[in-house]
């Protein structure tokens, strides 16, 4: 019976896959949050910094966006080790994914900040707010709201791209699947299972972000919501 064999295989593989999934989640969550903090800093530095700061931010963003994630991970894991900076696989992956995501998040946020009418900043300054207060209380809260759709894309990309960490020996979801498959050669089944796991969680993530977007929605700010698959709104 092919079906029962498949389920037996699924049940046998699942504990390992779930271990891997935990690592995938760890990579995703750390990278999105650290990437967010660095990304906000980069975006603000790029827009509001003086020539030098702005130049550094642009340079960093362009280098990160202009090179493959895999190459970045190899440089951090193998390259830096050769000059004495040794990271464990998981450390290298966390570091690389965070930096990589920060460049993309910085660019999404830059677009949003630049979409905020200049009158908002002017009005804040007119009240007597400092530039930093104006950015923090008036510009950023609006920019972050309109970044949520792009940000949710980044989160979903990132969740899937963590699989690349498998190539620097991180035992995340894809790596665990690879290990199982290399033992019993059931590549098709295992990769279908893995694909399904990614799909399920991608769907869940996009629903969560969708709700967050609704929760933070302010009339007149940002684009109208797309209809959710789960709710008829």
């Amino acid at each position: 019976m092919a079906t029962s064999m498949f389920f037996e295989f699924l049940l046998d593989s699942l504990p390992k896959l779930l271990d891997g999934l935990q690592v995938t989640f760890l990579l995703t969550i750390v990278a999105i949050l650290a990437g967010f903090l660095i990304g906000v800093t980069l975006a603000l530095g790029r827009i509001y910094g003086n020539k030098i700061i702005s130049g550094i931010c642009i340079g960093f963003i362009e280098v990160i966006r202009g090179t493959p994630l895999l190459v970045q991970l190899f440089i951090i894991y193998f390259g830096l080790a050769s000059i004495g900076l040794v990271f464990s696989p998981i450390q290298a992956a966390l570091f690389g994914l965070s930096l990589n995501s920060s460049a993309y998040q910085a660019e999404y946020l830059r677009g949003s900040i630049q979409a905020i009418p200049s009158g908002q900043m002017v009005a804040a300054r007119t009240l007597g707010m400092t530039k930093i207060q104006s950015i923090g209380t008036i510009v950023l809260p609006q920019a972050l709201r309109i970044s949520i759709p792009a940000w949710s894309n980044e989160l979903i990309y990132l969740f899937k791209y963590t699989s690349i960490a498998y190539l620097i020996q991180v035992r995340e979801l894809t790596a665990e699947g690879q290990i199982i498959a290399s033992r019993n050669f059931r590549y098709v089944e295992i990769y279908l299972i893995i694909a399904l796991i990614y799909l399920i969680f991608t769907f869940i993530i996009s629903e969560i972000v969708d709700r967050a977007e609704k929760r933070f929605h302010v009339p007149g700010l940002g684009v109208p919501k797309r209809a959710s698959w789960l709710r008829n709104t």
Partner: protein, 247 residues
């Protein structure tokens, strides 16, 4: 000593000189209206006063302090100069109430409760007690502008600068805003750039006519409207009368 003293302000953008030596002064609680054709530097003048666009030359004094002095803490001074914009510039992510209270919290360091109370009072004053929890996008133009005025008032300014406050409004909404402005007469100094000649005539202590970056003529409304001394002023008022209907 006048409350606001503007001395020989010059301002250029690129190679165009927009303001070519503007001087005037204002007393406490005085209301002055600046009139003139578009592009004569009226808005630029207002932005020069609170240093949004620092003038290239000349001095601005408020309450005995020189605002054009680069070492002054301009953020402290700006609290004393309210600004009401043509296109409102309400904070889009905040309710009407928060629009008014945010400056009190962040700049005047009032606690949330006090700031809220004060904001409520100001919104009542402009007739918007029912709209406090609405966002700018949910308000009409006239309501938005009244929130803008309440936002400026809440900071207890010495003077409020109005930059064409009714120019972006539908005609039937202009009245509400002008009524609010009238109610402020004698309570706070107002410097108003507007094309509302009826309002200028009825409310202003003095009319300032600007053209080509200079003040052509200034005087009490009666004199300016009935017997202007300069030919340019006559021509302008004649054109305005045909445009907006004589009053």
């Amino acid at each position: 000593m006048p409350m606001l003293d503007v001395k020989n302000i010059h301002k250029s953008f690129e190679t165009t000189e927009v303001l070519k030596g503007i001087s005037f002064s204002m007393e406490k609680e005085e209301t002055k209206v600046i009139i003139g054709t578009s592009g004569t530097g009226k808005s630029t003048l207002l932005r020069c006063l609170n240093q949004l666009d620092p003038p290239d030359e000349g001095e601005v004094w408020l309450d005995g302090e020189e605002l054009t002095n680069p070492s002054i803490d301009i953020n402290r001074i700006r609290q004393k100069i309210g600004f009401v914009f043509q296109d409102f510039n309400l904070f889009n992510h905040l309710t009407a109430l928060r629009n008014v209270s945010i400056g009190l919290e962040k700049v005047k360091q009032l606690n949330k409760e006090k700031a809220r109370e004060r904001a409520m009072d100001e919104l009542k004053r402009v007739g918007l007690e029912k709209q406090i929890n609405q966002y700018p996008a949910q308000l009409s133009g006239g309501q938005k502008q009244r929130v803008g005025i309440a936002r400026a008032l809440a900071m207890d300014p010495d003077i409020i600068l109005f930059d064409e406050p009714t120019s972006a409004l539908d005609p039937e909404l202009i009245g509400d805003v002008l009524d609010v402005m009238k109610s402020l007469y004698g309570k706070v100094a107002m410097l108003i750039v507007t094309h509302e000649m009826g309002f200028a005539r009825n409310v202003a202590d003095e009319i300032i006519f600007m053209e080509g970056g200079v003040i052509v003529e200034k005087g009490p409304p009666k004199q300016m409207f009935q017997s202007p001394t300069k030919q340019r002023t006559k021509e302008f008022l004649g054109r305005i009368a045909t445009l907006y209907g004589a009053e």
